[in-house]
Amino acid sequence: MTKTHILPLILLFLASLLGGCDADIDAFSPDPGEADFTTFVSLGNSLTAGFMDGELYREGQHNSLANLLAGQFMHTGLEDFNQPLMHDDIGFGNRLILAEADGQPLPVPMPGTPDPENFENKYNDAGPFHNLGVPGARIQHLLFEGYATLNPYYQRFAADIPTSSIMGDALALNPSFFSLWIGNNDILSYALDGGEGEHILPPEDFRVAFQALVGQLTQQGASGVTANIPNITQIPFFATVPYNALLLTDPDVVALLNNAYAEAPHISFELGPNPLVVYDSDHMAGIRQLEKGELVLLSALNGISNEGWGSQEPLSGEYYLNAKQIEHVTNHVEAYNDIISETASNFNLAMTDVNQLLKDAEPGIYFDAIAFNTEFISGGVFSLDGIHLSARGYAIVANAFIEAINSQYQASVPKVAIGNYPGIQFP
């Protein structure tokens, strides 16, 4: 009899082991290191606010750089992080989505009427706010009292519209840790005008402003992270349309164009890709063809494709950047970035090299088994406006911020999992 009892006993033993056969792995232990993340404020522009696809909207704000950082700081002592959320995913109404046109995905305005609530000041109902990123803000705007009267994105959440400054709102929260990523718009506003508008803020003025910002933020002992500025050559808005975007496949059209420009012999066309024709007041003839290395703005694409811009009608100056203008931009980016690095180092702040990150991403880079590059729409890093990052782009940058913070403060702030954030939505 005893023998026949052995098998059931063994089966019972097997069953009891089943509970212990699940693989387990030790949890990672986050650690704030030398930093104090209790109260985190995030200062900056659209890139901090969560602006993407041409607009600030609720889902984009959930995936803002500031909110992604805050979510990770929750593991290292952050208690509360409040964003001035839009009421919906329309925002002020400038959002782009992808639509299918001739079987191709193309950015188009998202239909829908902005809710008036999106424009109303939320401070009394829902403030104070820790994400103080304001789309459009340039460096000097952060100290500007009354800036909310000029910028509707700040008007939405300023503590007091006529008198508040972004910096004032930040300091009122008595932050223990801050992020400061600013200066992009000082460069971009020049480049987005094709270099035809006002000049870029001189580096001396940038230095004064940046040191003032960091000085005020650190005065009460806060530590923080800052970041440098990417060059425009990695930004799809400037890197998508090639200088020779005029593709001619019909010999009759080539002849027609050559004939039309017969009086400007330095302009000629042939089968294949041709440099675009542009207005250039510095040129003797007032018009010329673009040269390799010059940058055409994405906003010219529709005109080039459908309206004969750059061929029948020369492209006007606000749609391209010539070599001199590009050099002007690059010099300012380098000067700004030197100031940012130097100041970060002087104040013992973490500094994120976003400039290098985007250079590395340009030819293609994998994060968490997802392939990215900086191409428009397909690249995954940038959103549909070709200037601001996508949700995953912000996640990539957030991880770069976290790396810089961990290294500067001997901290172990966990990184985000890139694949947890939404990719570009294709129709």
Binding site: L7, L14, A23, D24, L98, P105, Y366
Partner: protein, 407 residues
């Protein structure tokens, strides 16, 4: 029997030994730490060492069994990260069936049907590594007719012809999102190929036995398998042809086995085995799509496995003529290159403990049970080409049951 086999075929996939090898080739061998090369227990020798088959006791032997593989893998993303994921694997049930008889005093014939390679896992939905693998089911079933000849009382040789049927079914996510959610690629195909198994067995009257066997590499080359893309947004439809085909090839690596055993007392058998696997054959996993587009080039995924030596030891104790107890263990270092570690085959350095029991209600019939517990030692691994890394840990629990009948 064929009905049963076809049912088993449908469900028998597993993850058990290094790489995608499965070494569950008999409950009695499993109980003794997977040693088998030098053992002449029964018809299972046809697979474990064809050279030993002619030394099996008795005139006729039939062995059948099945194992249940409860495997789980845990993942923690590369530091610093709090992200964790687990597999939610379905139960897989590798099986084995052997039959052999003595045709003459010296010549034995047999057949072995089993599942020496396989891998089955399902990562939790939407896990971070889904762009590498979401789920996979890979298996090879081999059928091996075998002849073995006893040259002298102390020496026998044998060889078998191996037909392997392989099938693969895998799914991964693509980082493309549309109205239906994330796009997916599902690959499904099967194939067959040939190889051989040969061995030599030496038995000393004092109770020593030694065996040496070699199983050849068999390449499983799926041609024209289905490559189905789902949830592809319509604006990208031309980039991902809907009903594409794919060629994919996977080696079933060669094995070289050496075993020693000693019948220390009439009741006690002890032994060891060295199991050398030529994993170096697995250099790359290539998906060669029939129709390529700018967004869909052929996919070359480096694997760069290394050959491994697995050291196994175990023994059997006869408690009464009706009851046998077994125990054993082995160490199975991973063949996977830690820079090219894909979560499709999360094979770690494995430390395993085994136990087993047989009950013989009549001398001809043995009911055999085994238990194998494998600890996949936690280690940091990465798939460097796609920048995906983390710590993996596995636990595998494999109870098995079988019967053997011997005349």
């Amino acid at each position: 029997m064929f009905l049963m086999v076809s049912w088993l075929v449908a469900t028998s996939t597993m993850l058990q030994a290094g790489g995608y090898e499965v070494s569950l080739h008999g409950q009695r061998q499993v109980g003794m730490g997977l040693i088998g090369t030098s053992l002449t227990l029964d018809a299972s020798a046809a697979f474990n060492n064809p050279g030993a088959l002619a030394m099996m006791p008795g005139q006729l032997s039939v062995v059948g069994g099945i194992n249940g593989v409860f495997a789980s893998t845990a993942f923690r993303m590369e530091a610093p990260s709090v992200y964790q994921a687990k597999t939610d694997n379905p139960l897989s049930t590798p099986f084995h069936f052997y039959a052999a008889g003595m045709l003459t005093d010296r010549l034995a014939a047999g057949i072995a049907v089993n599942t020496p390679y396989g891998n089955s896992l399902e990562w939790e939905d939407a896990w971070a590594g889904r762009f590498l693998i979401q789920n996979i089911s890979l298996m090879a079933i081999t059928v091996q007719p075998t002849l073995s000849y006893r040259v002298t009382d102390m020496l026998s040789v044998g060889a078998g012809f191996v037909y392997a049927h392989g099938a693969v079914d895998m799914e991964r996510a693509l980082p493309i999102e549309g109205p239906d959610g994330e796009a997916r690629l599902h690959i499904d195909g099967s194939t067959g190929n040939y190889g051989f198994n040969a061995g030599i067995q030496f038995a000393h009257p004092a109770g020593f036995q030694a065996g040496l066997s070699y199983r050849s590499q068999i390449d499983m080359e799926v041609e024209g398998g289905d490559a189905l893309f789902s949830n592809i947004p319509s604006s990208l439809a031309t980039a991902f042809p809907a009903n594409n085909k794919v060629d994919v090839s996977l080696p079933l690596p060669a094995n070289l086995d050496f075993g020693l055993s000693y019948q220390a007392t009439p009741d006690l058998l002890v032994g060891m085995a060295l199991h050398y696997v030529f994993w170096g054959a697995y250099e790359e996993l290539v998906f060669d799509f029939e129709e390529n587009t700018g967004s869909l080039p052929d996919s070359y995924n480096k694997r760069d496995y290394s050959n491994t030596l697995i050291i196994r030891a175990g023994g059997e104790y006869r408690v009464t003529p009706e009851i046998y107890l077994r125990a054993g263990g082995y160490f199975d270092p991973t063949p996977v290159n830690s820079e090219y570690f894909s979560p499709e085959t999360p094979s770690l350095d494995n430390l395993a403990f085994t136990g087993g029991v047989s009950f013989l209600p009549i001398p001809e019939l043995s009911i055999d049970a085994s238990l194998l517990y494998i600890i996949g030692l936690e280690e940091d691994m990465r798939y460097t080409p796609e920048n995906f890394g983390g710590s993996y840990s596995t636990r595998i629990f494999i109870p098995g049951i079988g019967i053997s009948y011997q005349l």
